[in-house]
Symmetry: C3
Subunit: 269 residues, 3 copies
């Protein structure tokens, strides 16, 4: 397996338009992060235009962070439009296990739509897999499940990629697994670092979906490295946000290092 190190450069040339149906907490940070990276954001969550916006965008991200019933209808319309137009469709299942409403919504979204990628933290992916995991609100929890197995199960059941992000990231297509190291703990002290990552993954997939697993892996590694670089310049979470946006703007593929990628040997693949 070889890394594709030119995706970031191509992304900045292509300037993909990332359609986000997202939450009120992170919309600003997502938009600024996409602009800083070299993509363009469009946030449109009304049923009246969700399908049209998905059709004109390079990819669509559905984020359930501040969910309400109207938004779910818009998500279904946008998701169907994205797939009908051959665009990557990403799910960010924020707080997946927290309430019955979120659980039901995720079942509804997974039943109705064909996702390219689901990106969440360990608690969220465990909740989708239906395995035990100690979740606490929308933050990462800790538990006993083998999260790699849970991710592979969710990937196989939904015929999509699954990325689990945390101290170490995992991305799997249900068979192959790549672990990505790097990053910094300050990333968990700002809101929306995971939400923005899902949008950035959409931009990477929109740029190159020929080998989607490796596109996501390259995205995860670039994002973790941006966090490391930004953390070196930061005193706390306040200036880290700012330095992280600066770094998304300035990072180049060569800043990402091969030792961030760990290709897991799979017995059954």
């Amino acid at each position: 397996m070889m890394r594709r190190q030119t995706i970031l450069k191509e992304l900045r040339q292509a300037n993909p338009l990332v359609h986000c149906i997202t939450n009120i907490v992170v919309a600003n940070f997502q938009a600024n992060g996409l602009l800083a990276l070299g993509a363009s954001p469009i946030m449109a969550d009304s049923l009246e235009e969700a399908a049209d916006v998905a059709a004109l965008s390079s990819c669509t991200l559905l984020n359930i962070g501040t969910l309400n019933p109207l938004t779910v209808d818009a998500m279904i319309a946008a998701g169907k439009s994205a797939s009908a137009n051959g665009r990557p469709l990403i799910l960010d299942p924020v707080g997946a296990g927290a309430t019955a409403f979120r659980k039901q919504t995720i079942v509804h979204l997974l039943d109705s739509l064909d996702f390219t990628l689901i990106r969440g933290n360990a608690g969220e992916i465990a909740a989708i897999a239906g395995v035990a995991w100690q979740a606490k609100g929308v933050d990462v929890g800790s538990g006993d499940a083998d999260i790699t197995d849970a991710a592979k199960q969710v990937a196989r059941q939904n015929s999509c990629l699954v990325a689990v992000t945390g101290e170490t990231d995992i991305v799997t297509d249900g068979e192959r697994v790549i672990r990505i190291s790097g990053g910094h703990e300050l990333m968990s002290l700002i809101t929306g670092s995971g939400c923005l990552l899902s949008a950035v993954a959409g931009a990477f997939l929109a740029t190159d979906s020929s080998d989607a697993l490796h596109s996501v892996a390259e995205c995860l590694a670039s994002y973790k490295k941006s966090g490391e670089i930004a953390a070196e310049q930061s005193f706390g979470p306040g200036d880290f946000s700012m330095n992280f946006l600066n770094t998304l703007h300035s990072i180049e593929a060569q800043d990402v290092t091969d030792d961030q990628f760990h290709y897991v040997q799979e017995v059954h693949s």
Copy 2:
């Protein structure tokens, strides 16, 4: 009366989950402020899950900054759930006197729910008390009412704490009054400094409600001191926001000083 100087440390150990039904302007800053301090945010304002989220959270904050009728129903459900589960419930009556809709909503919320704390600026608390005060939109106004009397009246009528924040802060349980000094005028030049304070007060109350009046006083003093420290490092409101988040992350109880607390002798208590 003795200050409890260990609340901040305990808060960071307990990492309380603060449920915010809040407005689109400050949701991001509130979430980042809670994370910086050592708490966790969950913003969920849909009727379908508001009660569930309140039940799993350490406290619930209702902020009426960008109010609509759907949100009011969610606020009622969340507030009842928080109280039924023994969790602190905080009201931030943003722009309380500005429109008939806000006045009616506040009457409805106060009639339906049992708040632990109401935190507002002088104009907002005066509006709830029904006394004259020159309010201008959602910003602090100036007027003739004795704001301490208004705060005590609101506290007694609603059997809760009332905090009035501004150049000097006041917190009262209807009898006892503590004035808190400190802070910096830059705090009034960034949006959401009051809204975030209400969320932070929820985190303090969730950590220690054994002497709720003093928990809120310690919160107000810590917040004002964070503003002072951040202002010393800032050129204007832009970098003040960033430095304030950094300071919420780094401030320790010993940074707060006894001379910030002014215990008002009460004739009738």
Copy 3:
């Protein structure tokens, strides 16, 4: 024609209250930008109070960035109230040409309301004028239309001012045209720089509408100069946001230079 160089000073003395019905992406940045400049924000988008808030505010801004049908009703109510009370009314037609829903909404708003100013980028103003322009989502596109003619046409048809902002800004009343130079490309790498500008233009018009064309021109020049000053201090889009807010707070009329203004000789005026 003479510039009025005292508007900024008067604005800070008058502290106009700017009512924004706006989108979830930029609400925070708009509020912080208005506070930094010396105005006050009030974001209220519920039909239940939109007219009341418009009546108590110094001006009202309607921004269609994250549009939904409920918000459109509130916009109509707010816009009528603003005009009935003699207050400037500003339209920011975000992503005007992107979807049928946005096109229909803009037609509805223009038919129902009397705007003082429409401020958009070239693609948005071209879409309103119905001329060819290559728009891409909510970002500025590039195309063949003579954008000055399109702006004049929209201004005449709607009896209002039209400002087109981009590398060079234009403001026209349908006859006279002023071009404004300055600014920095980092302004296009942060979300909401155009949205905030529309709100700032409202504050300028609320301060002095005696010669509205020149008030807007002074606003555009001040904003572009703020971008230039902030960019000199910035490494990337992350710290540019912060420095831009600081600069809006510190900029004085004398920082704006006469050579930023280009009065276009009009044959027919």
